[in-house]
Symmetry: C2
Subunit: 242 residues, 2 copies
Amino acid sequence: MNVVPLYKLDERHPQALACAKCAVREHALFGALDHDGLDRIHTHIASHEYAADTVILRAGDVGDSLFTIRSGIVRFERSTEAGERRIVRLAGRSDLIGQESLLRLAHQDDVIACTEVHVCRIPRSLVQELGHAEEAITQELMRRWQTALGEAQAWMTNLSTGPAARRMLHLVEKLQAHADGRGLIWLPRREDMGAMLDMTFETASRLVSQLKREGILTLEPPRHARVNAERLRHAIAAFAAG
Amino acid sequence: MNVVPLYKLDERHPQALACAKCAVREHALFGALDHDGLDRIHTHIASHEYAADTVILRAGDVGDSLFTIRSGIVRFERSTEAGERRIVRLAGRSDLIGQESLLRLAHQDDVIACTEVHVCRIPRSLVQELGHAEEAITQELMRRWQTALGEAQAWMTNLSTGPAARRMLHLVEKLQAHADGRGLIWLPRREDMGAMLDMTFETASRLVSQLKREGILTLEPPRHARVNAERLRHAIAAFAAG
DNA sequence: CGAGCCGTTGAGGGGATTCAAGCTCAGTGG
DNA sequence: CCACTGAGCTTGAATCCCCTCAACGGCTCG
């Protein structure tokens, strides 16, 4: 893990600039703040980065900060009572994670970097102070909680329902939403796909191979792929039809 | 749907008494308020009741109130893109539903009464005013959002993972948490079980029959049953072991 | 009483798992 | 340089779990 105070990101500019110019600012928690607001907070926020497959939050721990994801993808993992690993959610650019720290509640899942991940670390105390002064922040926090709830339930209906092939198509669709530059998506390891879709890694592998044959996916190792969006939508529609 | 202003529930007492004596008050949203606080709000809150299988909130609608469940069980339903019905969550006594109304967001699911349900209807505006004055209310709201999120993800890991028999056991376990008086639990229709556990109603029926044979469940029609808690825990543990 | 809904149970087939073998590829050390 | 190793991916074959299709009984209600 690498720590860089945000206000040093560009030393030629005044400190506030880093936050003001933040690429995800309009989508992030503090997007609701004006420039004066930003002036008050930026010194407390630090930029961190995590390599792929490193743990960002650990289930059971009580955190003292929240994180806005600037780039990369993270996964929320927990274990079944039977002991199997299950991935219950993904989060990416501009998503807020670790909100439970505000309530001094323990994290419910391990949060692990899927790709290299850049975040802004925001101390709990800062959010709480702002919450008093700025009505908008509280509102924005609730909105994010509601979004996370919706995400979790959509995950259930799309990724844990129906035949394996359909679940896989929906996963690809979701990964597409996190695509970087030009249509290149991050493709999980087969075992992780299994943990997301509740299937064995062999089944996941077979399905990926099939998508490859059908021209929906073009693998670009390591762990990336290109999607034929047209064919993907068509394949998903085929399931709805019959 | 039946509407009864709360303050008339007992006309021999001053209005505030209804809220102050509310059986779920300490677990409900306004549990954080003191008696003075209650004095200010109770006239705005009304008690409603819904018969089993009636719709309380409709997906797509934008509500103007929140509801605290005083008794009964409700289910959150949505549809797969393929058109199948899926139940993504249950809520019961002292749970808060319709929080998205605060954000003027549409409901994401149909919320339907499973049993007869009694609720307190709380206008959005009331919560918003209190949110300004009472820090504790805002805090409590966030806590409830977080609880709902945790519920949704636990639902995923327990009720949509692994072999059908285990999923059914976990459902019974969850229903037990909503048990009324003495160990009598509400037992869904087989088709609804299917929508909860992503299986066909025939499979659900077979599994219930099996639990009956194993002495874990004793049916008490209509739509109720008694659970042998000891054997249930044993059966769940058996899956963890092997 | 017949109609309809709900629940149960059987028989057969299909889809996912299990078990197993072989492949590529990166890293390691001789 | 290359054999060696181990992790990840793919594919095959056999098995099993769950779905599909079907028939039937109990119950409520018009």
